[in-house]
Amino acid sequence: MNWIGDNLGLIWEALREHLYLAIVPVILGLIISVPLGYVATRYSWLANPLIAFGGVLYSLPSIALFIVIPAILGTKVLATINIIVALTIYTVSLLIRNVIDGLRSVPPDVRQSAIAVGYSPLHRVITVDLPIAVPVIFTGLRVVTVANISMVSVGAVIGIGGLGELFTLGFQKDFLTPVVVGVVLSLLLALCADLILVTLQRLLTPWARVATPVGEVA
């Protein structure tokens, strides 16, 4: 237990870095997926190939990406940007399906009325389509956020990465405490992140929780 007290600074730094490496790709991935998903619903022939391609990307082992990306980007193997890029790719490959499904979940008569009342196309996407897609998009966001938090630890294998560094430290010294601290903290981090996302979703979609109508009282 002394180890924890002596290394609070190190632990805190690892936690902060872990959070940063996991969350930035989620935000970047969202920013990329939304317009991409919108384009795929406008040109519907694009949707299925995009979803399939996303599936393939997502199934690549993360360690491979962490190593191949520096070669492609010309960055140093140890640069954090590699992790950010790799996880952004994962995020997009997973979220794209949710964005497309979410936009497709807008009922046709709702979309038709939105056009008929006189929304311009961009305005309609922002104020009608995307809000209605929020529940489906958030399902993907939650999955990808938790996945990213666990994948950041893998970065430790190549020498970068938040709480994963504690594992490396523990294994090197054959000393369990840092490993336990690392595992517990990354679990807590995943739980907190998920809780925040659930709360955010509830705030964004008060309409999705309303009761079904009671009887026909016209």
């Binding site: 009325s113 209605i132 109508p213 009887g215 026909e216 016209a218």
Partner: protein, 332 residues
């Protein structure tokens, strides 16, 4: 006036949904498009707000070709109501109704104020204003749909089978209220239905379309029933068109008989017929002074005693009419 001139719509797959349709839709009246499924009613309607673009021909509103207008601006000036209302599920009732005013840049207070007034006008309790559409019944949603269409006071309102997804009683109420509303607002309404009864009830003019989007007849409903243009129209208005035509006969002064003792009243409002036992016999349909002969006949036919009950605007019985009186009126 909305004018169709040789309007044709061919979909990319080759289907000709509307074929050289020429039609003048008069202002401030209800014009109904009626016809069998797939005859091109929806297509014709949606070409008016350019949510479907025609292939050839011209559509003009008050003499101006709609193709010369920006579609988004055009649509904000035309109300649109569809079958399942198509309300925005993520907006409250009042926000739904305020949609077009807000798109037009009204400030929020004014837009919401207008929306609240409209909710009352279409017969909705203002307590429902903060609910979401999923918390309303189908009939209530449809009223919100009408309020949304009217919010920015458009000259034209397009309605595509707006009442066909609600139960018959609610449908009847909504139809009556549309007529009442129209007496106040006098919009140019284009109404699509496949129900000839609804067309006859609501339309000042009825356009009967046949499959392939061809106009079979355009006439006021009484004329349609009295003088169908061809076999198709005759078949469509149905075998009982004679009965339907009674809708347009208004026997000014059908002689009423005084309310008989057998009619059970509660504060003057009829509640049933007495038959000696504790239970009352059902009332049957009621009619009002000034209603059509069809309503009077209906009251007589559905009454268990053969006497149709006539009520005033407050629902109080003012007299009854018997079969022989109606038969007399039918002969004349």
């Amino acid at each position: 006036m909305i004018e169709f001139e040789d309007v044709t719509k061919q979909y990319p797959d080759g289907t000709v949904a509307v074929d050289k349709l020429s039609l003048r839709i008069p202002s401030n009246q209800i014009t109904v498009f009626v016809g069998p499924s797939g005859c091109g009613k929806t297509t014709s309607l949606r070409m008016i707000n350019r949510t479907i673009e025609r292939t050839s021909g011209t559509i003009s509103i008050d003499g101006e070709d709609i193709n010369g207008k920006d579609p988004v601006t055009l649509r904000r000036g035309i109300g649109y109501v569809i079958q399942n209302a198509g309300l925005f599920p993520h907006k409250t009732v009042v926000e739904n109704v305020a949609t077009v005013p807000k798109l037009l840049g009204w400030d929020k207070g004014k837009a919401h104020g207008t929306a609240m007034e409209l909710l009352e006008r279409v017969g909705l309790d203002v307590k429902l204003a903060e609910r979401y559409p999923a918390q309303l019944s189908g009939g209530q949603q449809q009223r919100v749909g009408v309020a949304r269409a009217l919010a920015a006071d458009p000259k034209i309102m397009l309605m595509d089978e707006p009442f066909s997804a609600v139960d018959p009683i609610v449908r009847h109420q909504l139809q009556e209220e549309l007529l009442r509303l129209q007496r106040d607002i006098g919009k140019t309404i284009v109404f699509v239905t496949h129900d000839i009864d609804e067309a006859i009830k609501l339309g000042d003019n009825v356009a009967v379309l046949r499959v392939g989007g061809k106009l079979a007849q355009f006439a006021p409903p009484a004329e349609l029933l009295a003088d169908p243009a061809d076999d198709f129209v005759r078949g469509f208005v149905g075998q009982d068109r004679g009965y339907r035509a009674l809708t347009f006969v208004h026997p000014e002064e059908l002689p009423l008989k005084p309310v008989p003792d057998e009619l059970a009243l509660k504060d003057g409002v009829p509640v049933g017929w007495k038959n000696g036992s504790a239970d009352l016999l059902p009332l049957g349909a009621l009619f009002k002074r000034g209603d059509s002969l069809r309503a009077a006949l209906d009251a007589v036919l559905t009454s268990p005693t053969g006497s149709g009950v006539c009520v005033d605007d407050d629902g109080k019985a003012i007299g009854v009419i018997d079969q022989s009186t109606v038969a007399e009126a039918l002969r004349s």
